[in-house]
Amino acid sequence: MREEAKRADRHREVRTAARAWRRAGAIDQATLAAIEAAYPDDRARLGPVFRTLAFVFGVLALDAFFGVIALATHGRYEFGVACLFFAVALVAATEVLTGPLKRADSGIETATALLSVVWALVGMGVLLESTLDSERELLPLLLGAGALLAGAGSVRWGSPVLAAVASASIFLLLGQSPGGRALWVLVALLAVPLLIRGGESAAFPPSHRRSLQVGLVLAITALYLATNLVSWDRHWLESLAVPGASPAPGPALRPLAVVLTALVPLLVLAFAVATCRVLLVDVGVLLGVASLVTLRAYVHLVPVWAVLAGSGAAALVAVLGLRRWLASGAGGERGGFTAEPLFEDAGRRRSAEMVGALVTLGPQPAARPAEAPGMRPGGGQYGGGGATGEF
């Protein structure tokens, strides 16, 4: 990242925090203005709505533009070369956007950066395909190139999206090799402490810290996938490799997978709570849910409805209990945690909740099932929680 972009990135972090303080009424308008003056941000940024639109229209424009060029090319070689040229042009465009034009968080530079990697990989794939014996040889090359290009792009432009592409490419590449499962565990275990430290280090600007946090989430997910019992029994990771190259995991270590399926989410959650890391709390909870689903896949002691209703009721009771426990602590906090919203953006949270409720809980305007000619009365559909509770 350019120095001026790093500085603007750090200043933006402070300005964002100050606006949250203002929204919560913790500071007045004059203080906010003073903070914004002390931490100027020279980047042209867009808000979330405009940014999303700019990204969508940017991707549409660039892909359609390249489509026109591709139509004019003849033969695979020319097409591959055109892809690489287009990728280089997009790299240049991203440089101009993030450099002289001072764009950041505006959607368009994310579109050019992402598509530069995508089209470079397409071009390489097209050009290399004819020189290699099989597609199985091509895939590791493309994954390796994807990891390098996306990683470099993420470092240069501070893009968490490219960091996600790079991290995913690395693990998929490891999955191609014999013993991919062991490599996933090993690399994830080595990477997690480094990524935790890097994701909070003052040496990195906020965009790089976010990129490292994206990598952290993917590394923990990879660790979990490598040790999860379903993944173990169904050979998910071995199916990524060349057929026969990575042998199926033996039964001797299966008990370890059983233990780790339960243990990994608990360890993540315990570490997160002990060190007040909310991101890891979220990851731990999600992995815990995945482990409960895994448990349900193997153990059928109670019917599905009882599992769902029981776990839902348990979740609600846990929320009520935790909230009460936190609120009853000195100053409404315990162990560094509080149930108060602090400086969150309530407007955005409310919008997200309403959209979520509409999507998942809205009833279906479906016709009554088994409606016989002449129409019998009774029926309708109750769609709570995505349940198709037809009566």
């Binding site: 549409l60 909070e200 909310v278 909870v285 309403m354 305007p365 016709a367 129409m375 009566f391």
Partner: protein, 319 residues
């Protein structure tokens, strides 16, 4: 930990911009010495509601005959009573204005009670058919119930469910009419969607004008525009598609203008997206050459992006 904010808080305190007491709090948050679990707890509560209602739906459907009507009705009624007893204990007094939240799980327990009540009503309707041939009306009853609960307990989430249930009621009725007439009639669903959209927009305007739960207005307005634009967009593939594209374009212009006037960026997004869809549909429906379409889709989105930057300069959406 957010090192940049922590450093800035220290510097701002030294410069006298932030008073020490505030700076201490901000610093604790930036240094991760104080962390809010508010969002996480709400998310888990929401997931809990989702799981319980799904589980109850399955329970009733799979065990209707085995458990028996009395047991199911009793369990559901008890659960509903439990939810509403808790809600009534926590609820602030009624006001036409916005009331402060008393508990982070309040909205979710209310939502659970409302959804379980709907399940109970649907089950009663299925089992005893009190509405007879007019069975779709039970959705209207549920919508009204949701609406009353939303007003009393000041819940935007339940209000949005009330509106979507009302729209679903119109969908159900349209399906039945379609069935009765033995004719494919997607137009009827479209008309219902548009009518619901207009009704919601009017409701939103009324709420805002009368200052009665004025903070519910954005919910009604957004849902209203979605239905109205969706109704017009769904007709693009039908007969007279070009005419509908013009209608969609006109609606897009109105919603975008309103968005600009009221500085509502989501409405501007509705306008931009639907306007672009309408213009593209006009071109596609005019049997334009493939080359022209490629150029259209490669050049015009850049124009939209440029327009967005100009719009941002004028309106300054908070980033």
């Amino acid at each position: 930990m957010n090192a940049d904010v922590a450093d800035a808080v220290r510097a701002l305190e030294r410069a006298g911009t932030l008073p020490s007491e505030k700076a201490r709090l901000f610093s604790r948050v930036a240094r991760r010495e104080l962390v809010s679990a508010h969002a996480e707890l709400r998310l888990v509560a929401y997931a809990g509601v989702l799981l319980v209602t799904t589980g109850v739906g399955l329970l009733v459907r799979q065990n209707l005959e085995r458990i028996g009507p009395l047991a199911i009705a009793s369990v559901l009624a008890l659960a509903v009573l439990g939810c509403f007893a808790w809600v009534a204990r926590q609820a602030p007094p009624f006001t036409w204005g916005e009331s402060a939240s008393t508990h982070l799980a309040f909205d979710y327990i209310l939502l659970l009670g409302a959804l379980l009540t709907a399940a109970l009503l649907a089950w009663v309707e299925a089992k005893f058919t009190p509405l007879g041939d007019a069975w779709p009306w039970h959705l209207l009853l549920v919508a009204l119930l949701y609406g009353l609960l939303a007003l009393r307990y000041d819940s935007r989430v339940v209000f949005s469910l009330a509106l979507s249930t009302f729209a679903a009621w119109r969908g159900v009725s349209a399906s039945r009419l379609h069935h009765a007439l033995w004719t494919a009639s997607p137009d009827l669903v479209r008309v219902n969607a548009a009518a619901c959209g207009l009704l919601f927009l009017a409701l939103g305007a009324l709420l805002a004008a009368r200052r009665r739960k004025a903070h519910f207005e954005p919910v009604a307005t957004h849902l209203g525009w979605l239905l109205l634009l969706g109704a017009a967009a769904s007709a693009l593939g039908a007969r007279a598609g070009s005419l509908w594209a013009l209608v969609l374009l006109a609606l897009a212009g109105v919603v975008a203008a309103l968005g600009v006037r009221q500085r509502r960026f989501s409405l501007i997004a509705f306008g931009v997206l639907s306007g672009y869809v309408a213009l593209s549909a006009l071109l596609v429906l005019s049997d334009a050459a493939a080359g022209l379409l490629f150029w259209w889709f490669s050049l015009t989105p850049l124009g939209v992006v440029a327009l967005l930057f100009v719009g941002h300069r004028m309106l300054q959406e908070p980033s």
